[in-house]
């Protein structure tokens, strides 16, 4: 497995800062806006953004975690059942602006499920999508992000992994390529 670092920890931090400023441009002081991270990996992006936004705005940003397991379209199409993670949205989404957050946008199927899952908590006035990495040209569904950390052109055989200090030991984004002899 070959490994290529797309963003190191310094560039990742800069990217998160830039995304935070882009969010503030559209959402001002976040009085009507909440961030919702998709389980299992989007929640780390949310906690990083929350940290940045709270430094800049000097107020608490409302955030939640959303699990999409029961809304996926591949139940019974896999060997094993899909086991859910925790959903934690203890506020109403009615008439709120929601920024859905995930680490990598690939086929778009996760986001499709995320939109369905989100609507079980009420009717938001607007939903936007923020992703750290957009693997463009690989979409199965007509879904695009409003805020993108970095566009990546990659093959199906490749894998993009967003890694965090508290889990993998270092903040970085890596592109894994299968060796030709594997």
């Amino acid at each position: 497995m070959e490994k290529q670092v797309i963003l190191n920890s310094k560039h990742l931090e800069l990217t998160l800062k830039r995304l935070s400023h882009e969010l503030i441009e559209s959402h001002n002081d976040f009085s009507d806006t909440v961030l919702v991270g998709l389980q299992p990996r989007g929640i780390h992006v949310v906690s990083q953004l929350k940290k940045q936004l709270e430094i800049i705005l000097g107020k608490e940003i409302i955030c939640g975690n959303l699990d999409i397991t029961f809304f996926r379209d591949d139940f019974r199409r896999r060997e094993k059942p899909l086991i859910p993670s925790i959903t934690n949205i203890d506020f109403s989404l009615e008439n709120k602006k929601v920024v859905l957050v995930d680490d990598v946008l690939y086929t778009g199927r996760t986001i499709r499920a995320g939109l369905d899952a989100l609507l079980t908590f009420g009717r938001p006035s607007k939903v936007e999508l923020l992703v750290l990495i957009d693997r463009r040209f690989r979409r199965d569904l007509p879904i695009q992000a409003d805020y993108v950390g970095k566009m990546v052109d990659s093959l199906i055989s490749e894998r993009v992994s967003v890694e965090w200090e508290e889990i993998e030991g270092e903040d970085k984004i890596v592109l894994y390529t299968k060796d030709s002899n594997e």
Binding site: F70, R76, P81, T87, L119
Partner: protein, 309 residues
Amino acid sequence: MNNLSVDHLTGIKDLSKEDIDLIFKTADSFKEVINRPIKKVPSLRDITIANIFFENSTRTKLSFELAEKRLSADILNFSASGSSVKKGETLIDTVNNILSMKVDMVVMRHPNPGAALFLSQKVNAKIINAGDGTHEHPTQALLDAYSIREKLGAVQGKKVVIVGDILHSRVALSNIYCLQKLGAEVMVCGPTTLIPKDIHLLNVKISHNLREALEWCDVANMLRIQSERQEISYFPSLREYSMQFGLNKEILNSLSKEIVVMHPGPINRGVEITSDVADSKQSIILNQVENGVAIRMAVIYLLAAKIDR
């Protein structure tokens, strides 16, 4: 571990501790789902489930039905009264006729012990036992243990006494298996005539004195007297039973510690439990009913994942 080791839920006896932990973990997520403004998920959109009840039921039937609807399954309801069973049709014929309408899963309650196991060997559908005679009632035991875990933080190491008609109770047997697999200690308590004579083989403590049993336990699960299964008299009168084995506020308050009170329902108020106890803060009877839906959603979801496409 993210797959059940069994293809049908006929009894707790066949489940491993890992299976039960997986069901509980999945139920945690469903409990969160059923407290959302929109309490429905689309997972089982292409699954049809038949609820076949050859015996009366209120809670279990409603709970299964609600669990199936919350998972978006299509459902068929069938009860023996008013059906062709009365015209002499056999169990397998009845079920196969229902299955030819393309049903993927059967939830069945039947008065004969072993009926669910028998069916699982004979027909091509996932079977969930919703009570088979005096044998097992697995989803009740799962929701009871889940409710203990929720109230006390864990089941491991807890002491649970099951009080009442152990002889005729499928809830008691399933509870004993389930609690022991999760590492709890179990005691049964009741009049000698209502305790099965070989129950010590299941490694449970036995008591015939309610106060002694309650002093020992952390949780008391009060069972109903199953008059419909009793052909002879097992005790002189309900009044005498109630005086010796009924749980009232006076006994509860005189104990050296606060215990949790459970009841699988239906309650016979004033017989095995008085109203002030059933409605007290120590009682988790209504939590059990709420958890029942989440547990049944988890069981159905995990078994449905094993249906071939």
